[in-house]
């Protein structure tokens, strides 16, 4: 398998991240500012969750919800893979477990993120 077939080739590199103790309002602002839809959530440098714009969609009906910590709103189940994981393996797992995104790690650091939008883009390249 060529190097082009690994997740590294299809991921969005160096994604923006947020600390688990930051506010939901800050997460919302970051998503808007950078025009992205997912942020890996870190605690002490470790990935502990993922937060998406849809996690934040309804809580903004309540003004004080913006003060909630990201910890309370994020999805704690994160699917992590390494840069050299074959993209086929990643999408098979995402399909089987119905997972919306994979966080790509380089050792202990977040190297990238691969979402279903990236999967659609990869599919387009291959059709």
């Amino acid at each position: 398998m060529s190097s082009k077939e690994t997740i590294e080739h299809f991921m969005t590199a160096s994604p923006h991240t947020i600390g688990s103790d930051q506010s939901a309002g800050r997460a919302h602002a970051l998503l808007r500012e950078h025009d992205v839809r997912h942020l890996p959530v870190l605690r002490g440098g470790e990935v502990v969750g993922i937060i998406s714009n849809r996690d934040l969609q309804f809580i903004f009906v309540l003004e004080d919800a913006k003060e909630l910590p990201v910890d309370d709103v994020m999805s704690p189940d994160v699917y992590t893979v390494t840069r050299d994981t074959p993209v086929r393996e990643v999408v098979q797992e995402m399909a089987a477990q119905k997972i919306g995104s994979a966080v790509v790690m380089d050792g202990n650091k977040v190297a990238g993120i691969f979402t279903t939008t990236d999967a659609l883009t990869a599919l387009l390249e291959r059709l």
């Binding site: 999408v91 279903t116 999967a119 659609l120 599919l123 059709l127």
Partner: protein
Amino acid sequence: MTLPKKTIEDYYTASPVTVRASDDLDRAQELMTDKGIRHLPVLDGGELVGVLSDRDIKAALAIKGATTKRISCGDIATEGTYVTRPGSPLQVVAREMAEKHYGSAVVTENDEVVGIFTTTDACRALADVLTA
């Protein structure tokens, strides 16, 4: 450029489970759990009015005082549903979903819902293409 061969029909889930706009979220959650699915087309008098996803429900229930009994599927179904036909090329549907960030495409024929194609199906399609 060669003509796209694969159509949405190769990958969509046929005869998807649907809910009525008047059904409460209890019913929707029950169906999603029982069937292991995350998207439900919402019908009102047989007509498609939107799609309801598990995350829509989760987000709605984050509101203080919200309960699955008090909210109907029609209340929170995502409007502006992407609707396509069984013969639509996979390429066209995947492009539209990627560009507009749609989580699903509802497949209709003669105004009837005949299938649903989600990003999970897109992942399956990609795995397939990469294996071929």
